[in-house]
Symmetry: C2
Subunit: 220 residues, 2 copies
Amino acid sequence: MTTYTPTDQNRVRRLPKRGHYDSETIYGIVDAALICHVSFVQDGQPFIIPTLHARDGDAILLHGASTSRLMLHAGAGHPLCIAVTVTDALVLARSVFHHSVNYRSAVVFGRGELVEDEAEKWNALERFTEKLIPGRWADARQPTPVEMKATAVVRVEIENASAKIRTGPPGDDEEDLLLPVWSGLLPIQTTFGQPEPAPDLATGIAVPDYLRRMFGATEG
Amino acid sequence: MTTYTPTDQNRVRRLPKRGHYDSETIYGIVDAALICHVSFVQDGQPFIIPTLHARDGDAILLHGASTSRLMLHAGAGHPLCIAVTVTDALVLARSVFHHSVNYRSAVVFGRGELVEDEAEKWNALERFTEKLIPGRWADARQPTPVEMKATAVVRVEIENASAKIRTGPPGDDEEDLLLPVWSGLLPIQTTFGQPEPAPDLATGIAVPDYLRRMFGATEG
């Protein structure tokens, strides 16, 4: 387990009790979410691009078209900030002021590097596919050399990171506790629905077991 | 309806057919999501903070503790990029290469301004609460002057924006269509679960109708 050092970059300033700096907590959030948001700077202007991610040890993996702006910029080693956020519940306090959201948020800092090694790139693509749909890589048609060339993978070694988590019931003020206002949590659930076959799916191809298992499963 | 002009800042370069520049499409995505990711630059380093948002016409509203880093920085007029992303389905193609996600993504550029006018700030807080839980503002205990002072609202006039949307079935290559691989969509559903009362909720307070209506409703 890695413990990141709180610095000016990653320290959770607002409500420091919600801050976590151990890799177990941070990576748990990274792995739980389908997508991340990557931010970078060009000419002093911040940009954000949402994208799929995977993790390989202490690195975040990104991928995309070799010609895409994110791959070109991230692969060139500029500083990146990557955020992963999972929302768990709306928090309804008696007072408007104490309304909140239960969430798990990880923020990671690092610089990207294009993965040039073919075997490493292949493994990364397998990792992406298996994170999305465990069992899919062995079933689907695997990449051709042309597709491999058209796809870029960027590896972002995590230089610094932190997590911020809110759990539990509303934190109402003592003097509001007897107000006749319902208070509690409204859980947010992200689940997968019934698989919808492609219109041009050849007849006689059943929904694979690995996909059937995902039905009703939660993202987070 | 506003139509934003595609510039170097907001143009959807990769797969331009997925790009949209009209406010109806962009604001529809902004309004559909619970949270946004705000990015900003300090000393050349990009930062992202996930937060709740609301919209007032052509502006995004953010709020937080008056002393929070996001409110201080965003309120000071530095350039911001705000991303809102809704994921709708995993897209399973016959080939690994054409796997994708159906999503709706809005990216907005602008600069923040602290809302100082008390009535405007009050209206903004009502807007936040009603976006989160329609009907809640009138039921919950409304802000005191001390709470108003502790809360900052930042208004970000949208200078430029774009949306990127993927819908529909997988886009497999012609020569893969007859492969014996299941292909189609795995829908992602974000719903609200059963309300969970606070442990210290006074007896005899029923779940309000406006909350009961949200059960099973989708975020997006």
